[in-house]
Symmetry: C2
DNA sequence: GTCTATACGAGGATAGAC
DNA sequence: GTCTATCCTCGTATAGAC
């Protein structure tokens, strides 16, 4: 049916344009953060005019929200890519490593951490909340499992471990180390992983299987 | 001499007003962060008009800079208050606990972590840079000493430990735990201290002397 | 359905009265 | 030496032409 094919083609073009826009937003959020990112910059980077952006996204907040939904989607992809039978601790470590690598690649969007209008807007974004809950529940399950396996301190609240993992995704330590220039990206990933799980007093972690 | 006393009195009044202003700026920076803090809010909170603020401070950046200089001064006070003969690890732990308590009291200013014009302005603030270096050198000494005493992992770069301690002063985990409401302030301090030094896999830390 | 051109508000900074 | 009233820039958002 020609009509549906046309619609499908338009749909595809639309999705493609949205993807390009969200990629640009993602990069700008990673580079400058929400407050310093301007809609003009997004439009310039994509190569379209500002009003065309506002046809697809209602506001700057909606733009950032869509970028965060995309980020959570990528995180969930990484979660689902973990082998189901792998030890929970290894899955948590792999996720942390991915998050640090994203930061080093400059593809981890930064939001204002303090209470802002953006935070409220995100919490009103159903898809964002849904994915955030899904991610939180998956990680909480892994955390409990790792504790029962004796690989994580069993007397730490699951909540705390979850918050710490989330917080490491925007840890300024990564930027500091990168700016310092004394370490390679691979070394930074290892240092963040080790200091998060073993702390400042513990020794090196057991190497990950697969030789990474 | 009357003239000098008059000048001294004016000086004192000026210092007092500056102190009140900086306290207000400090609170607003802690509550909203630099970008969301407006100069109007500062003026309103102090109870003076905006032009009076601009008589004392050249710009919003200068205002934030002075607040950060004040913060570094308080941090250095805590550093100097540590007994010189105490184990270095205990001094580091005490400083971290102080930083978390400041956050819980809502008195730890938040700056935009990413690259911003403010960061450049701070680096051009001589007094800020001087105090930051002084603090960094004091802590680096403690870190090396703790490593030689076998209380910190000796194979971690001093730089990394220093950055991690700095980063914990604006760790969103504190906010998350506070908002969650499941823990008392004292518990939050303990959890942050433990997770920083022992990580997620390590057991409880040895209690601090003095029964805190 | 994309752009030019503009309205509108917010916030940093200042002139000038008292 | 403090306030009222104002300016100017910038950034979000939109109306209207093509």
């Amino acid at each position: 049916m020609v009509a549906t094919e046309r619609i499908s083609l338009k749909e595809q073009q639309l999705r493609l344009k949205e993807a390009v826009i969200l990629q640009a937003v993602n990069g700008l959020l990673a580079q400058k953060g929400y407050d310093l990112m301007t809609v003009d910059q997004v439009a310039a980077e994509v190569g379209i005019a500002k009003p065309s952006l506002y046809k697809l996204f209602d506001s700057k907040e909606a733009l950032a929200g869509a970028a965060m939904v995309r980020l959570l989607g990528r995180a969930l992809d990484v979660v689902h890519a973990q082998p189901a039978d792998a030890p929970a601790l290894l899955k948590l470590r792999a996720l942390l490593r991915w998050a640090v690598e994203e930061q080093l690649r400059g593809e981890m969007p930064r939001l204002p951490s303090t209470r802002s209008s953006l935070r409220d807007a995100l919490m009103r974004n159903d898809e964002y909340v849904r994915r955030l809950n899904e991610l939180g529940e998956a990680l909480s399950g892994w955390i409990s499992a790792a504790q029962q396996a004796g690989d994580l301190a069993a007397d730490l609240p699951v909540e705390l471990v979850l918050f710490i993992l989330f917080a490491r995704t925007c840890d300024p330590v990564v930027d500091y180390l990168k700016l310092g220039g004394a370490f390679s990206d691979a070394e930074i990933v290892d240092l963040l992983e080790r200091s998060t799980f073993a702390g400042l007093t513990g020794g090196p972690l057991a190497p990950l299987p697969g030789g990474r």
